[in-house]
Symmetry: C2
Subunit: 279 residues, 2 copies
């Protein structure tokens, strides 16, 4: 009897013990733009056993549609200034075209999936970003809260959740939201219920020392090594926000963050490829 | 004791007794196209207590976008021939722009809602329509099956379901599907679990004897009266498929079908306005 109690105490003392695993996978824009890479990614996603969430952006498709519709696009530091016409475009492309095509492909491989935005089931509440350094980003959302219980309900039904990076504020205004941020905030919130692995998957094999040489993958990065790499300017600039997000996610309860190739998800999970971010 | 058993028998013998009510509301295209009418409809939808499903099409927005993108549209008998470019457009407009804007507006009024296509949770399986009278409708779906259990799960969480008329076949091909048909098939399938009222809501006060006179609403139509009205050519041609569908739905277990004004849903339900279709 006392043995049972001791085991129970041990169980309760370890925060991740006994929790189910959840894989949250952000897919990069260059994968979405390439039909063959997207198909390989989907095979790789389907092969993951257990609870999983896929988060996608829109690649270049929103930019392409904006051009066809003569809606001028303004980017500042890689972020899209979202006026009302651009919001309409990203809502159509992200929540409509890309989201539903991914869901349909998953269904055809017997992977039950539901595609959602932050508005659906109030999954992700956000607010319109206030002026930053005098820049008005327009209809861009900063995340306030993730509704973990509704997501958990879907996962418990063995449904994969496919999230488009559109959120909503409390006045019913849709907002364009960075997909990396959605992945990070979802991972942080869900780590209260699951043992979460957050994967940023893209076209490269991981974080590279030489951005043109796939064999220079850094196997693991901890905060000290990261400081050193940044100091020596050995980190590709586009990778810095991803890594900053990764460390913040780990500090907020996410178990593991991995960066690597979209077609090799199981290898990333098994530690056979990619870059692991460690505390 | 025997009294209790008798009551139970009575209960089981009546197919609708004890089942919860479910309101399935199809919203007409002219309402979607008009911002003020859409806002009134949404207020009216929110006011309905209990289980509810909203089914929308795309109004003229898909046609407008196709024009802007120089994608030629071909209509035969009011049905859109759906080539791959048109499929992309309707997926963007129906599943993206319209669906998510409706969901966001519902959320802002504290009506929890989830927007879905047939692909999500495999809610509506379909097949590509075969050639009909030599006409190839393209990527158009005919409904095979409605996944009632997933919809029921959402309704049990007090979530309103908002359905866009896009379905999927077993190969993962998205298909453009008539919204009236989706409403009818969903109503038929859900009537195995609920006491279903199916409402076709639009800009008119009901089925009119004189299409230009709102005061000529026919209060109720049964099959005999319908035959007579058709024979005397007193039914507006566009209304015939809706009425045919309504009678078929009633024969398949739907409890009640009502046709009437989108802004007056509660009055339609209470029998204070609109046209009731009866067996």
């Amino acid at each position: 009897m006392s043995d049972i109690i001791n085991k129970k105490e041990l169980f309760n003392n370890h925060p991740l013990q006994g929790r189910e695993a959840l894989f949250i996978i952000k897919i990069g824009g260059n994968i979405i733009d390439d039909e063959n890479k997207l198909a390989s990614f989907i095979q790789s996603f389907i092969a993951i056993q257990g609870n999983k969430i896929l988060i996608h952006g829109g690649g270049k498709l929103a930019t392409k549609l904006a051009k066809e519709l003569n809606v001028e696009q303004q980017m500042i530091d890689g972020r899209r200034i979202t006026d009302s016409e651009t919001l309409k475009i990203v809502t159509m492309v992200y929540a409509g075209y890309i989201n539903k095509n991914i869901v349909a492909k998953l269904q055809s491989h017997n992977c039950n999936a539901v595609g959602l935005t932050g508005a659906d089931g109030n999954i992700i509440k956000a607010h319109k970003r206030p002026l930053k350094n005098g820049i008005d980003y327009g209809y861009v959302g900063d995340v306030d809260e993730v509704n973990t219980l509704f997501i958990q309900n879907l996962l418990q039904q063995k449904i994969a959740v496919v999230l488009a990076p559109i959120t909503v504020d409390d006045k019913g205004q849709l907002l364009n939201t960075n997909a990396d941020t959605i992945a990070q905030e979802t991972a942080k919130a869900m780590s209260k219920l699951y043992n979460v692995t957050l994967i940023y998957s893209f076209e490269k094999a991981g974080v590279l020392l030489d951005v043109n040489n796939e064999s220079t993958v850094i196997k693991s990065i901890n905060p000290e090594f990261y400081s050193q790499l940044k100091k020596e300017k050995k980190i590709f600039e586009g990778m810095i926000p991803k890594l900053d997000n990764a460390f913040e996610a780990l500090q907020s309860g996410v178990n593991k963050v991995i960066i690597g190739k979209a077609e090799e998800l199981q290898n990333l999970i098994d530690g056979k490829s990619g870059t692991s971010i460690m505390q």
